[in-house]
């Protein structure tokens, strides 16, 4: 393969790193990494979960300090000391995890630390702040009131606020760590339009994503990392299969989609007439044993709300839930788990992981009762054993079973959350964005896992904003728009086009369709 | 119309104050007047006491009984009372003002001096002693501490006060007593300036299994009387709290009737020990 890093044109990189190393307790996150970013390029950074991408970027953004090695800005060595320092060097970053102040408005979040003032600088000029923000949103084609508290926004819209915030700075280096993980296609298109514009203005952009198609659409060069080290830097038109091989150290096979006939199977989960305010409006659906039902829709369509309501995490105004044909009253997640359900939340940091606890405690949390002696004492050996099995089965990258979950990389955290429901061994599994932030290798493992789980006779609901994912997994696809189910498509007939059409079928356009 | 006399005291949780209340209630019954009794939770809360006084005045009382936590802080309110023709009877601790018609109180300086004399007598006029006082700032705490210290200084040059510590509750006083005997192996006596201080001293000495330490206490209460009976505490000074309460209400009633009263009603204090506890005169001023 051709290596670009040594032969590129003789422009001075905006930013370059040489022999950069960084260790955390028990983990060598970066090992003599090299990387460079030129003005006016989009440089994709790729690698498996835990490869060290975010760590590298956090060093450039002043969040972490490097252990050794050199960072150069315009060819001059720099020591980036703090986020404020990075900002002053015109380095901006969109972090992988959301870092927003929930109680503050979108405008207040975006301009924190740079508020326009009035009255000789004594008072804040809130009107000016909102005008500036509105202008920014207009530029980004983002329909959002600047005065909305961000705590009231969905994850996707919060992500948009983060992006808007990074773009509100005059930056020369812009780092985007999985900016599209929560976005839908339209928004991704909008983001790419902005990226291209910035690129033409000479901004250098580091782009991290696990979505292969995006890399091909937007990147100029690709640097691949594995296990904390740089593997190589290649042009973006390098065949993806080859890039993936560099990432995971082997070639991946693509599983063919096979849709089993489940029409005669027992209905495991059925929801009838679920309603809550305007978020969920008369939603009915059913899932059979062995079936994978995909939920597609645009951001805010109400899929997460349906999942949470079915699982008892939020109350319903109306509607009934049947499990194995039996009417069940589900008033809390506890009821749901007792009825044999498991729910993987789309927001692992807040709802999925006990971040301060270790890996094995997380994995055995829902099923803890099974690991007790005399109904009271923890059976350590059994807990170790089952956790170890899961770590191996899902290839969770962790120094030990007693590593604190917070210290794992994002993707590995997600695997831990999946593991806990696998251990619980439920019949009905609801996965909300199960591969959010997960690398290609792990993604295909998770797909295989879901298919296996279905084949073993479980009923599976997959909510995903990535249409290819929905298409690849679902035996049947339900599409939601504005809290209603707007259509149902058999897996064999589903295409990006017909799903998108249903996903945008707003109430005004047609009468509610319920064709299932 | 009913005669109403609220007593705003310095506290209500100690047995001492409960005894004052008992005396006041008794007088209320005898003179057919309505009496209420309240005080802040700790003897530091000067401002809360003033709020209580102010609420008491809002109830348009016929007279007020007042035991001041601070001798000056309440004066503006007392002026108001005077302007509204509400007579004020001070009790336990006086006010630096001529507004109160009279003050029913113990002379704490003198009482503590008596404690010093008794302690000196029991240890033979020489050696190391210590004080467990109830707190640093309350009038009675300060007077008793200083009354004791002054008397020792003035009359007993061979007695050395090695430490003054402040107890607060019984448990803390007991811990202090234990460390006192650790730190001062030659310690011969302890003066506990109020009920928790005295009982705590007794407890601490008992737990430390030290013999030969003379404790002089203050106030009364069942535990203290028991300790005097079993010899843990040599003897104590008691005031006449029931008398203080009674005299306060009585003075109020008399004032309302237009009678003249002396500026101080000295309710007295007494030294008591195993030998005289059952004397009628003494047992009348002791309480459980």
């Amino acid at each position: 393969m051709t290596s670009l890093s040594s032969q590129g044109p003789a422009v001075t990189p905006l930013i370059s790193v040489e022999n950069l190393s960084k260790s955390f307790p028990g983990v060598k996150a970066l090992d003599k990494v090299r990387f460079d970013l030129r003005p006016g390029e989009v440089h994709a950074l790729m690698g498996e979960n835990g490869a060290g991408k975010s760590t590298l970027m956090k060093i450039l953004a002043g969040v972490y300090r490097k252990d050794s090695g050199e960072v150069r800005l315009d060819g001059e060595p720099v020591e980036i000391e703090s986020p404020a320092h990075a900002q002053s060097l015109a380095i901006g970053i969109i972090h992988q995890e959301l870092h927003l102040m929930a109680h503050l408005t979108a405008a207040q979040n975006i301009f924190l630390g740079r508020e326009p003032r009035k009255a000789a600088g004594l008072l804040l000029d809130e009107d000016q702040l909102n005008r500036d923000t509105q202008a920014l949103f207009d530029r980004l084609h983002l329909v959002l009131a600047p005065t909305t508290p961000v705590g009231e926004l969905t994850v996707a819209r919060q992500q948009m606020v983060e992006i808007a915030k990074a773009l509100s700075f005059k930056t020369r280096v812009l780092i985007m760590d999985e900016p599209t993980a929560a976005l839908n296609n339209a928004e991704i298109g909008e983001l790419f339009r902005i990226i291209r514009q910035l690129r033409s203005e000479g901004v250098g952009i580091v782009y991290i994503s696990h979505k292969m198609d995006e890399i091909q659409r937007i990147a100029d060069r690709v640097t691949v990392m594995r296990d904390g080290a740089t593997i190589d830097t290649v042009p973006a038109d390098t065949p993806m299969a080859q890039v993936i091989a560099m990432m995971v150290g082997r070639y991946l096979e693509h599983a063919d989609k096979h849709i089993p006939d489940t029409s005669a199977n027992e209905v495991l989960l059925e929801a009838r007439g679920l309603t809550r305010g305007r978020a969920i409006r008369d939603v009915s659906f059913s899932v059979r044993r062995g079936e994978i039902v995909g939920f597609a829709g645009l951001m805010g369509a109400g899929r997460t709300e349906v999942a949470r309501a079915v699982f008892g995490a939020d109350p319903l105004d109306a509607g009934e839930i049947f499990v194995r044909g039996q009417h069940v009253r589900i008033r809390s997640p506890q009821d749901a788990v007792r009825a044999g359900m498991g729910y993987l939340s789309e927001d692992r940091k807040h709802f999925g992981l006990a971040t301060g606890m270790d890996v094995e405690s997380n994995i055995t949390l829902p099923s803890l009762k099974r690991w007790l002696k005399w109904g009271m004492f923890l059976n350590r050996a059994a807990i170790h054993q089952v956790s170890q099995q899961m770590v191996e089965k899902l290839r969770i990258k962790t120094p030990s079973l007693t590593q604190t979950a917070r210290l794992l990389s994002g993707g590995n955290q997600q695997k831990v959350v999946i593991a806990k429901w696998l251990v619980q061994d439920c019949d009905i599994l609801i996965f909300d964005e199960p591969t959010r932030g997960i690398d290609v290798g792990a993604k295909s493992e998770i797909y295989k896992l879901l298919i296996d789980l279905a084949a073993q006779g479980r009923a599976i609901v997959v909510i995903s904003s990535e249409l290819p994912e929905v298409l690849q997994l679902s035996h049947r696809v339900l599409v939601m728009c504005e809290g209603r189910i707007t259509g149902e498509v058999p897996g064999s007939e589903a295409t990006q086009e017909n799903l998108m059409a249903l996903a945008t079928r707003r109430e005004a356009a047609t009468a509610p369709v319920t064709e299932h | 119309q009913e005669i109403y006399i609220p007593l705003v005291s310095k506290g209500f949780q100690h047995q001492f104050w409960q005894a004052v209340k008992q005396g006041a209630d008794q007088a209320g019954k005898d003179y057919k007047v309505r009496v209420t009794f309240e005080g802040p939770e700790t003897e530091q809360q000067v401002d809360k006491q003033i709020d209580m006084l102010s609420a008491a005045m809002a109830k348009k009382p016929s007279a007020i009984g007042f035991a001041a936590l601070d001798s000056k802080a309440a004066i503006p309110l007392l002026r108001k009372a005077k302007a509204a023709n509400i007579p004020v009877i001070a009790f336990d601790s006086g006010v630096d003002s001529d507004i109160p018609v009279t003050t029913a109180t113990t002379n704490n300086l003198a009482a503590a001096a008596l404690a010093a004399d008794k302690l000196a007598e029991k240890i033979g006029g020489e050696g190391e002693v210590a004080v467990i006082a109830h707190d640093q700032t309350s009038r009675t705490g300060v007077d008793r501490r200083d009354g004791f210290l002054n008397q020792i200084k003035a009359k007993y040059p061979k007695i050395k006060v090695v430490d003054v510590q402040y107890g607060g509750d019984q448990l803390k006083s007991a811990e202090i007593a234990k460390t006192l005997v650790q730190a001062h192996p030659k310690l011969k006596g302890i003066f506990g300036t109020n009920e928790p201080g005295a009982i705590g001293a007794g407890k601490g000495i008992k737990e430390a299994k030290k013999s030969g330490i003379v404790i002089i206490g203050f106030d009364s209460g069942k535990a203290q009387k028991d300790m005097i009976n079993d010899g843990t505490i040599a003897g104590s000074i008691t005031q006449n709290p029931v008398g203080i309460g009674y005299k306060t209400v009585e003075a109020a009633v008399k004032t309302l009737k237009g009678e003249k009263l002396p500026t101080i009603i000295d309710t007295g204090f007494y030294y008591y020990d195993k030998s005289n506890m059952s004397d009628p005169q003494i047992s009348a001023v002791l309480y459980d």
């Binding site: 503050l104 207040q108 924190l112 909305t148 | 530091q44 401002d47 102010s54 609420a55 802080a73 700032t137």
Partner: protein, 332 residues
């Protein structure tokens, strides 16, 4: 996707937050009505109302100081003792050293600022959690107050006009029928100034931001430590004002007073709708909370309820007040 809502003055008034405040106010009114009905002749008098206002001043001002700290999701257990320390220092400057009154006042407030600043530094630089940092400060300042005064009160009797700070009545001079003491006036002025600071200045903005997500603030390039120190310094200064108020009211600095007041202040703040987990709070709410507490206690005293029962009822009402506040919030 919802269109950007234009927030008019009217819709803002009807907003959930405003409604909540109105309802908290309603609880206060309810309490007043109950006591007025039960004991009109004593409760409903002008004197008693002024007494209630007066008795709210110190806790009210302390609660305002605490509001800032609590919105950052911190806590300040030292406020009561810090108030005393400032009163003591006022005594040292004005009485012992004989400095002119205005200078003494400024210096006393500066001591409050300094102590707050020390708390802030301990929290940010030594990374000691606020609960412990301010618990330590509480003990330290209490000891210092007793040491400095040699455990004796300092009297301001000879300082011309000192007691007028809290007890005089500028309003009464203009409207003789409305003898509202200056202390009350000062509390309201402090409240207005603090409300402006909280809602219209950078300090206020960062106060909310810190309580909402400190890491996000840091990643925004804001100097988190500095602003936190400023918040505690500001709160310390406000405690200094409380110190002057209580010193003036008692015409003396009482060195042993103050401990325990922090709990009343925190209770007032939380009853007023400020969340202990940070990010949410208003000064108006805090004032209402402080009044709920003082009306309750005054009313129970006026009704001659036994003190033991007063404690039991206060405990219950604190829980209930916060509970109904939750109810409202969840209904929004």
């Amino acid at each position: 996707m919802t269109p950007p809502a234009k927030s008019s003055w009217l819709s803002r008034l009807a907003s959930a937050q405003a409604k909540q405040k109105l309802l908290a106010f309603a609880s206060l009114i309810a309490l007043i009505v109950v006591f007025s009905v039960l004991k009109p002749e004593a409760f409903m008098t002008q004197d008693n109302f002024i007494g209630i206002l007066q008795s709210t001043t110190v806790i009210g001002v302390l609660a305002i100081a605490s509001t800032f700290v609590i919105i950052t999701s911190g806590i300040d257990l030292s406020v009561g003792v810090l108030m005393t320390f400032c009163a003591v220092m006022a005594g040292v400057f004005i009485v012992n050293l004989g400095l002119p009154l205005p200078l003494g006042i400024v210096l006393a407030l500066a001591m409050g600022a300094l102590s707050g600043c020390v708390s802030g530094l301990v929290i940010t630089k030594l990374k000691v959690p606020p609960f412990i940092a301010t618990l330590g400060m509480m003990m330290l300042l209490k000891g210092l107050s007793l040491l400095i005064t040699q455990t004796r009160p300092i009297y301001f009797s000879d300082v011309e006009g000192f007691d007028q700070i809290a007890l005089g009545s500028l309003i009464g001079e203009v409207f003789p029928s409305l003898p509202i003491p200056n202390g009350v006036l000062i509390m309201f002025v402090v409240a207005v100034v603090c409300a402006v600071v909280l809602n219209k200045t950078a300090l206020g903005r960062y106060t909310f931001a810190l309580g909402s997500n400190e890491e996000a603030v840091r990643l925004s390039g804001v100097n988190v430590d500095r602003w936190k120190v400023i918040v505690y310094t500001f709160a310390g200064t406000i405690c200094g004002i409380a110190g002057l108020l209580i010193a003036s009211r008692l015409n003396s600095a009482q060195p042993a007073l103050g401990q325990g007041y922090e709990l009343d202040a925190i209770a007032a703040v939380v009853i007023g709708g400020t969340s202990l987990s940070g990010g949410v709070g208003t000064i108006l709410g805090t004032l209402i909370g402080a009044f709920i507490m003082s009306v309750l206690i005054n009313g129970l005293r006026i009704m001659s309820v036994a003190q033991e029962w007063q404690m039991v009822l206060t405990g219950l009402i604190i829980i209930l007040a916060v509970y109904t506040d939750n109810l409202r919030r969840n209904k929004k």
